[in-house]
């Protein structure tokens, strides 16, 4: 057991937790915004894949990670626009449309990959990091936590920004109202559709951004179906976080750590089949649901389209 606690193991575990956790964090916070506003976004997995592909493609072509992130976010938002049109605007079944977006994300990005990168499998260089003065020199945690790219720091700050938005801005109140009692928001003179549309687009953007991080920073390359359920795990994170952004932050890195356990154990020289490790995060979700399930909270109007006059 003693070699489990070596600096190398812990360092690579932390590093892996950050790398695997950031996409979950971004997508989970995005989903939280949608859920707050009463839209269950099952298409998140697809949005992440769109972000992953286009984020990688643009970063590869332009050589700029920043452009890649932007493109990834935009691609996720475009996929979300479909959901806005079909679910928010036309009131279609959110689950059916969500499945369709996920299928389209899987199929289209795999198809595009096949025609663009499948022969050469190009890789990106490592993203530049920003060392936090003083902290980055700490043993074990320094390099893993305080010598990361700018997006990582921004992602970690995002929950705090969202807390401010949820509690202190008009938009935050509107989101809460759209999910809690849309008719009341409508009566207050705020467009329920507009609020929900904004929420879903934000979800798409953050999901796409998470996907882009996964492909450009996490792997340095795009692979078909590379999200491997990260979108769905993010949905669970949002569900269990009960509207609290800090819980998403906490959960994302916990899941990130379990996702990165394989690499970390290999570093430590322990050989465990990858499939066993791959089961870990999903088993953990199930366990968490069974243990804490009754505490998960979803807004009353979640999943229901809003039509004026039906209250």
């Amino acid at each position: 057991m003693e070699h489990l606690l070596t600096a190398a193991f812990l360092g690579s575990l932390l590093l892996g937790a950050v790398t695997a956790g950031v996409p979950l964090l971004l997508a989970g916070l995005g989903e939280q915004i949608s859920e707050k506003a009463g839209v269950l976004n099952i298409g998140l997995e697809g949005m992440m894949l769109f972000g992953a592909y286009f984020g990688f493609a643009v970063a590869y072509q332009s050589g700029s990670f920043a452009l890649g992130f932007l493109a990834g976010g935009a691609a996720g938002a475009v996929a979300a626009l479909v959901m806005v049109l079909l679910c928010v605007r036309l009131g279609m079944n959110q689950i059916v449309v969500g499945i369709a977006i996920t299928l389209a994300g899987e199929g289209l990005t795999a198809l595009l990959h096949y025609f663009t990168f499948a022969r050469s499998y190009p890789r990106l260089d490592k993203i530049g990091t920003l060392a936090v003065p003083g902290l980055s020199g700490l043993p074990v945690v320094g390099d893993a936590l305080f010598n990361r790219s700018l997006l990582v720091y921004l992602a970690v700050l995002l929950p705090f920004a969202l807390i401010w938005v949820f509690r202190r801005t008009q938009f935050g109140l509107n989101l809460q109202a759209a999910g809690d009692k849309p008719a009341a928001l409508d009566a207050a003179g705020v467009s329920v559709m507009g609020t929900r549309a904004a929420a879903v687009l934000l979800t798409g953007f953050l999901g796409g951004l998470g996907g882009a991080y996964l492909s450009t920073v996490g792997g340095g390359l795009f692979l078909p179906f590379m999200t491997g359920g990260a979108g769905f795990i993010s949905i669970v994170l949002a569900m269990l976080a009960r509207g609290k952004p800090l819980w998403v932050l906490f959960g994302a890195f916990l899941f990130g750590a379990s996702l990165s356990l394989t690499t970390a154990m290999q570093v430590a020289g322990i050989d465990v089949p990858t499939d066993v490790i791959q089961m870990l995060p999903f088993a953990m979700v199930i366990l968490v649901l069974v243990v804490f399930g009754r505490h998960s909270y979803l807004p009353p109007a979640l999943g229901l389209p809003y039509h004026r006059g039906e209250r």
């Binding site: 801005t169 008009q170 109140l173 009341a184 409508d186 003179g189 705020v190 467009s191």
Partner: protein, 534 residues
């Protein structure tokens, strides 16, 4: 009704909003047909009419929820288009809807801040200032930081009035504002309405209770089939007494010839209490509920130590403010909700452990207040809904197989007997009107084998004709068959009209039972607000 008769001063002639020729068509229906009306500042203007008369559509148009197809709305002489709820609020037209439209998870102040430009951070100081101002005007005392979910219905209504007046105090529209209130709450609302009127607000007051309209309104307009069919101006109202006003309004509402005597009584809540058919309470009660308790979810009021006795042939009313355990009582009696303590005995038999299906087999019937949300499967046919509680049992099922021809035949009979207006027995029940859905429920639950029938708000949301019909069925149910009946309602008039005794619920328990005799109303009122320890 405990509202003081308002002194009718000279109302100001200051026109707040003038409608002319407002028409709104829906597929197959002209909801508003050339309506011309004027609402004046400093005047309480009551709008009366049956369901479908066009009141709701008119409010929707004024509050910006819907656009008229034709006609013009003028404010201060200028033609305006009320394109959205926000536009209405900005014009100073605020609406308080029948159902509470507040966000329970937000605080009082947060609810009031709702509706500002989305990018703006919340301005607590400014909101608090306006809140204090309106609190003064309404003489309301609310904690600005209390979550709205914790407020009483009366307090929530005060908050809604505040919000309606937030952007200006031109017009306040109140849609059936008394339907959820205690008698005390109704009195307080009356005071608030008069304060606002004297402050110069044009108060539009929608109601179906003529007594309320008479006591509160300076002007009464009656709508029927989308048209204005009559108006009583302040001058006329001053000269007429209540009886004459009621006669006039009923004349407008139904056309003079149709106004039957009985209907009029239902309308005014002045129907004679039913002739006492001398309930024999010497024997054992049909129903005995002893020390009953239930477990509730967050926001629900569970039963605690609830005790009830109902004798055969008796109608027991359950009065009380909404949310004091009535729903749990009904569900516990029906077997939908297990008792965590106590027991229930029906005709000498302990039925505590029985669930819905078994209770039904010993004669328990339950007519829920949520007709579409709980009582029926909305997308399923009238025929299916008529046998909803018999699924799997003969004669409509044999060996698990559905005998659709028999179910449809049964449905056609019931539709005829109970005069259900439906295109066919295979029509999805959600397409029927509330009154017809209630007829289906009554047909399903009131059969000769019924021994205990629970009615939860049996006339809620029904128009007057269907209200009368439902009340007649309740009375017939007890008198002729000797079943024990429990009627839960928050309309005291209804209970006084139909019941033999009336029990009052408060905090999940029965705080007292009153014989339905002269003076009962006052005794019940005292029990409801906890003034009497029974």
């Amino acid at each position: 009704m405990g509202v003081e008769r308002s002194p009718r001063g000279e109302p100001g002639n200051d026109v707040a909003v003038a409608l002319s020729g407002v028409t709104k068509r829906f597929p197959g229906v002209v909801a508003n047909d050339g309506i011309s009306l004027t609402f004046r500042r400093g005047e309480v203007h009551a709008l009366l009419g049956e369901n479908g008369a066009g009141k709701s559509t008119l409010i929707s148009i004024l509050s910006g929820m819907q656009q008229p197809d034709e006609g013009e709305i003028r404010i201060a002489g200028r033609a305006v288009r009320i394109a959205s709820p926000r536009a209405a609020l900005k014009l100073g037209i605020g609406t308080v809807y029948q159902h509470v439209l507040l966000i329970p998870s937000l605080t009082v102040l947060e609810n009031l801040m709702l509706g500002g430009p989305w990018w703006r951070p919340l301005d607590r100081a400014a909101t608090l200032k306006r809140f204090e101002e309106l609190s003064g005007l309404l003489s309301a005392r609310l904690d600005p930081d209390a979550p709205v979910g914790r407020l009483s219905l009366g307090q929530q209504q005060q908050l809604e009035i505040m919000r309606a007046l937030w952007h200006g105090e031109l017009v306040l529209i109140l849609d059936e504002p008394t339907s959820m209130l205690t008698p005390q709450g109704v009195r307080e609302l009356g005071v608030v309405i008069r304060r606002l009127r004297d402050h110069g607000v044009a108060v539009v007051f929608i109601t179906h209770k003529l007594g309320e309209a008479y006591e509160l309104a300076d002007r009464i307009t009656v709508l029927r089939l989308g048209k204005v069919v009559g108006e009583l101006a302040p001058g006329q109202l001053r000269e007429l007494d209540e009886r004459q006003v009621v006669d006039a309004v009923i004349g407008f509402m139904f056309g003079r010839r149709e106004a039957g005597e009985a209907l009029e009584e239902t309308l005014t809540g002045e129907a004679e209490a039913l002739p006492r058919h001398a309930v024999d309470r010497s024997g054992a009660p049909a129903l005995a509920l002893q020390g009953a308790a239930t477990r509730g979810e967050r926001g629900e009021c569970p039963l605690q130590e609830a005790e009830l006795e109902v004798w055969p042939g008796e109608i027991l009313g359950i009065a009380g403010i909404d949310g004091n355990g009535q729903k749990h009582l009904a569900e516990a009696l029906a077997g939908q909700r297990p008792l965590s303590a106590g027991r229930m005995v029906l005709n000498g038999r302990d039925v505590t452990g029985m669930e819905v299906v078994q209770r039904r087999s010993v004669g328990v019937r339950y007519i829920t207040d949520e007709r579409l949300g709980e009582g029926t499967a909305a997308a399923h046919s009238v025929a299916t809904n008529l046998v909803l509680k018999q699924i799997g049992r003969p004669p409509f099922w044999a060996g698990g197989l559905t005998r659709w021809p028999a179910i449809h035949r049964h449905a056609r009979e019931q539709i005829q007997v109970h005069d259900v207006r439906t295109p066919s027995e295979q029509t999805p029940i959600a397409k029927l009107s509330g009154g017809n859905i209630q007829k289906v429920l009554l047909a399903r639950e009131l059969d000769p084998e019924a021994r205990l029938v629970i009615f939860n708000k049996p006339t809620y949301g029904l128009d007057l004709q269907n209200t009368k019909l439902a009340r007649d069925r309740i009375r017939a149910g007890a008198g002729t068959r000797g079943a024990a009946l429990v009627v839960i309602s928050n309309e005291l008039d209804e209970l006084l009209e139909t019941c033999d005794r009336i029990a009052v619920m408060d905090g999940g328990t029965i705080v007292g039972v009153v014989e339905n005799a002269p003076g009962a109303e006052a005794a019940i009122g005292r029990l409801m607000i906890g003034a009497d320890a029974a």
